[in-house]
Symmetry: C2
Subunit: 457 residues, 2 copies
């Protein structure tokens, strides 16, 4: 009988465990999974919507409870932290966080799914009551408690990425005056600044104040120790509550200590079957790994639940004796702030420059439906195409209802290595309630085709 040990009980770890269990019964494979928290298999991406009140119940975010996993013959040990990997000895050391007891568990196959940890700079005051991360379910509940008890209605969000803008919306829904303090030139640094500016303007329109090019230097506290303001070099922003949304980095402390291969972003490096490079019996996936960006050919760190789940499936297949691969990503992401939809895929201008690509960019304004149809909503589409070849390099979309998921068209086209000229003839769904007769993505592709030709001429 073989034993599989899984470190981390969230999307990747438990998907891998479940998939392996489907392929191999308890008579062939023992599965032990370690999870630090009380929870398994929950949607961290859903936390902003739970905090904002769109989702009533924390438990709705839990796809599968520890009990459900145990009922499938997975020996799941919650509140248990793995503290050491002994690769030569094929064993892991773990500590029961309740009792403090430590023990070693041997494995034949190992899955590392330790996720990511929030970036949390060592600023003065950052641990003050009223300063919150929103990484896990405990964080969400603590924040909700703080919001209910807050003395005033001023909130500062530090960071203007996905979590930052989603939390700005959530705080707005709680009736807070929201200021987002952003170190970048514009919110949503995953977009080019010209597209980020559209997000900034829309946030202004929603009553969210965004301060760009602002580095937080400290968190100021009141005499009782609670947060009272966020300070940058230029100014102070009064705050009854502070939410940190400064991104995450791979949680690979164990892996690093064990000498496993890490990339430039600190994530584990794997092969296409999600095995740690150079190791036949160690898999890794989810927010603790780097993934191949199929457009740039470089590894990136893309912490997203959708990849984590795919990794879990691929790992589970491999562990269970099946075959599956994860070919890489094209960098698709969608988000929203109230009714503003934001989407991107592929390379930004700076990404393309970084890998030596030369390109044209075009930006078009269109609508989500036929212009004459009710609720036709404006949409801006930016497209990058490689010089000479005309290959699609990236798309960014900012708009209203119906804007964001259009990025999937570009995501598939990028995967297929399509040129923008070929895209102009794509047979996309058209009817007045769904699209103008020229879909906005087609309009951008036409304009990009012309720009590539002109740049050549």
């Amino acid at each position: 009988m073989e034993r599989l040990v899984v470190i981390g009980g969230d999307a990747t770890g438990m998907s891998a465990a479940s998939q392996a269990r489907r392929l191999k019964g308890p008579e062939d494979l023992e599965i032990v999974a370690f999870e630090r928290s009380h929870f398994t298999s929950y949607s961290a991406c859903g936390i902003p919507y739970w905090v904002g009140g769109d989702v009533d119940d924390r438990d709705a975010l839990i796809a599968r409870t520890p009990e459900e996993h145990r009922a499938r013959a997975i020996d799941l040990r919650t509140r248990t932290e793995v503290t050491e990997l002994d690769l030569a000895g094929q064993r892991v050391r773990s500590r029961d966080l309740e009792s403090g007891a430590e023990s070693w568990t041997a494995y034949d196959k190992l899955v590392i799914a330790t996720g990511a940890r929030p970036v949390r700079p060592r600023l003065p005051g950052i641990d003050a009551p009223g300063v919150h991360g929103v990484q896990n379910l405990e964080d969400g509940q603590t924040l909700l408690d703080t919001l209910a008890a807050a003395r005033g209605r001023r909130a500062v969000v530090v960071g203007a990425g996905y979590i930052g803008v989603e939390m700005a919306e959530a705080l707005l829904k709680h009736g807070f005056e929201v200021t987002v303090v952003n170190r970048g030139e514009q919110p949503m640094a995953t977009l080019d600044p010209d597209m980020g500016r559209l997000v900034h303007e829309a946030m202004d329109g929603l009553g969210i104040t965004t301060v760009n090019d602002a580095e937080v230097t400290k968190i100021l506290t009141a005499p009782d120790g609670r947060v009272r303001a966020v300070a940058t070099e230029e100014a102070e922003y009064p705050a009854d509550v502070v939410v940190l949304g400064m991104g995450v980095e791979p949680e690979t402390k164990l892996a690093r200590a064990a000498g496993l291969p890490l990339g430039v972003y600190g994530g584990l490096l794997t092969d296409l079957a999600m095995r740690v490079r150079g190791y036949g019996n160690v898999w890794a996936g989810g927010d603790c790994v780097e993934v191949l960006d199929l457009v740039s050919g470089r590894e990136r760190h893309v912490p997203l639940g959708t990849h984590a789940n795919k990794h879990g499936q691929v790992i589970g297949a491999g562990v269970g004796g099946g075959y599956a691969t994860f070919p890489g990503v094209v960098g698709t992401a969608v988000s929203k702030v109230c009714d503003l939809e934001i989407a991107r895929t592929g390379l930004r201008e700076r990404d393309a420059l970084d890998v030596g690509l030369r390109f044209v960019t075009v930006t078009v304004e269109s609508t989500s439906r036929a212009g004459y149809y009710p609720q036709a909503a404006p949409m801006t589409v930016k497209m990058l195409a490689e010089l000479r070849t005309g290959r699609l390099l990236g798309v960014q979309i900012v708009g209203r209802e119906g804007a964001a998921k259009r990025v999937d068209i570009a995501a598939v086209a990028l995967t297929a290595g399509m040129t923008v000229e070929r895209m102009t003839a794509l047979d996309l769904g058209y009817a007045p309630p769904f699209s103008p007769v020229w879909d906005p993505v087609l309009v951008a592709a036409r304009k990009a085709t012309a720009a590539v030709r002109k740049a050549e001429g």
Copy 2:
């Protein structure tokens, strides 16, 4: 100076003329365009929404008026019908429908964009007052007048394709009791019957009665000559108004008489540059041509504004000395009945069988957003994949908000010849307001991948 003659002043004809004009000024190219009606460049696809009251104003459907075209140095002759093509003599004969005067116009280059005509079987009573087609703007206005003056509130729609179901919705909005009489096994014969059944059930839920497997044998009239009922072999359906939605066929009478090559559906056959096959100076596009189906390798007749506009662009480029092609279609179409969204792309089961393909089918139920997110709406996705190769062959979707445009993912994947296994790893936009962590299309692709493997094993 060359002269371009364009027959037909709607999407293809006027797009071609406009694009040619952009490439060549009036000093190089004279453009004469003939149009039978008063109108140019209007959205026929918008007529059901105008009749239904979603769009207030007929003129909103007109993208560019005859005056606007004339202001761009296009000699546009409305209410003028072309009655003969003399290909050997490079001239067309036309008749002024007001004065009856006929004349010949010589051309150097010719564009045939004569569109489609509604199928209108020679049934007794079909020309009775109260029986309406909805092919053009005049039809829409006449129908609106009839609806306003109708003696009762019973409407029968003959045909349950796109126009049929869209008109059923429009009539419902006018407070009519609507019966759809459908010769097929289920509504929406562009779907497989198992998916059409979902449309049927949803139409039931909306209060639209659908009678399947019913062939109309005659239209019954009242003593004053107005329609009073629609009869099939089995039954009579009382009707104060009847709308015909039995599809369209290519309008190629002129082309046929001139000996131009037609396909099995009666549409003109062209090359990739939209030149009529065998003719260097005659182009054709829009609803009067057949297009290559890239999935089956066969020609099909796909009368859709989105193709017509693309054809116009390609033809205009060719006429103007540029270069563009229309590679073909994959058969994408989207529609809705009230809040039910319907989409399809690629091959149905019978299409695949017709061309000798063997395949697996899978059907999955999912939601448009994360299950815990408000307004997560149910969605059914059916997917066909080829045996052995696993190549995607087709997708059909029936659901609510957010369902239909997901078909674009499959449309691009079909264009790229992707396998369903490759599709399982597609990097599609994920966030709880936009998609479950496994997009419904990915769930279908996973299930299809497993089905292909199982069928091989």
